[in-house]
Amino acid sequence: MVVILDYGIGNVFSIYNMIKKIGIAAEVTNDVTKVMQASKIILPGVGHFKYCMQQLRKEIFFDTLQERVLNNKIPVLGVCVGCQMLMETSEEGNEKGLGWIKGSVVRFKENELVQGQKIPHMAWTDVTPSKDCKLYDGIEEPRFYFSHSYHLAPAIEIQATATSIYGYPFTASVANNNIMGVQFHPEKSHRFGMKLYENFARLY
């Protein structure tokens, strides 16, 4: 069972809707028992990094989540701010991240954007995956919907699994073994996103 964590943050149901459409069993929950039994976990997140982190830490399942991911090594996929939370720190607020992937989250550098480009980066953008990332298997010319003002800055280069360009190249997804995250919104990205969630559910 794929568990989509519900900790009072917005985009859980759009993820659920898409996974249901693919025909994969999933559940939106904050129940500790369900987190304990989950075969895979999706960590959603939208809005403020700090607010999301604070809400997540408040959940009773928080310790169980860490245990399942770090000790039992079950696959976890962070989405948007859920992905940013995998990192150690963010420039958006002074709250610590989960630190499961080394590195930080930084604001788009305005002076490195092309003239006329605005923040947030809110667009469909081409994504170039690294060869060995199975999340993108079978997705031709991948493009996804992004909506963010901050982007990933992983400390270990090989943990960046895809890049995109907005003014300059930035990391669009990260992975450290069972821990994965995508900056974009697969649940808003038609067949591209469906395939990515399907890959997460079936290939890991």
């Binding site: 917005g10 809110m122 667009a123 067949r191």
Partner: protein
Amino acid sequence: MKRIRVIPVLLWKGDGLVKSVTFKNHKYVGDPINAVKIFNEKEVDELSLIDITASRQGRKPNIKKIREIASEAFMPVSYGGGITLIDEVKEILFTGIEKVIINKSAVQNPDLISDIAEKFGSQSIMVSIDVKKNIWGKYRVYTDGGTKDTGQHPVQFAKDCVHKGAGEILLTSINRDGTYQGFDIEIIREVASAISVPLVACGGAASVADFYKVVTEANASAVAAGSMFVFQRPHNAVLISYPSQQVLEQQLYSAL
């Protein structure tokens, strides 16, 4: 490749979708869920759904119907109409809607913009500004479906909204709405150059060439249209359409 979002705007009135000309003469164009399903198949970039009579009738957003529509949509969807409270925003975002649109509330209670931005992030709040050129040739912000002059100038008003935390401005020209005369380049350029967040241009589009024009000449970040996607010209028969990726790549993206 640089991609520009191309956004169909669906006007929701009563049980169905309608389309207007200069915000008047609403013509029925179909059922919202059916329309969303068709736009899914066409892989549209994004959709905006606006309940055009909610505010004027003092109605709250119809959460049940919004949820039904959101559960069928696999692209970003923004919803506007009748939003006055932060709790309504939360409910709407929890149905799977990507962002909320406010229009009249941005005039009446600008603090709602900051409340939404602080709680859900500025990417989840789009302010829709309807502009009309009055008989003296001055641009003014209108509410209540284009019937009420707020006396505000769109540039200053847009700047105020962004200052409050709006993540995006949807600028619609009432004069051009449904006319196929092309975008109002003048006011779009003026507003786009005054704000630091994306501007979505709306009102008057007839073709992909119009999109190209408003992006290159007015610096719009994204484009929106209604009639172009729901009518087939010359007789305005109802037919949902959307330019193919190939057309967009050749006539818009690669030309930028």
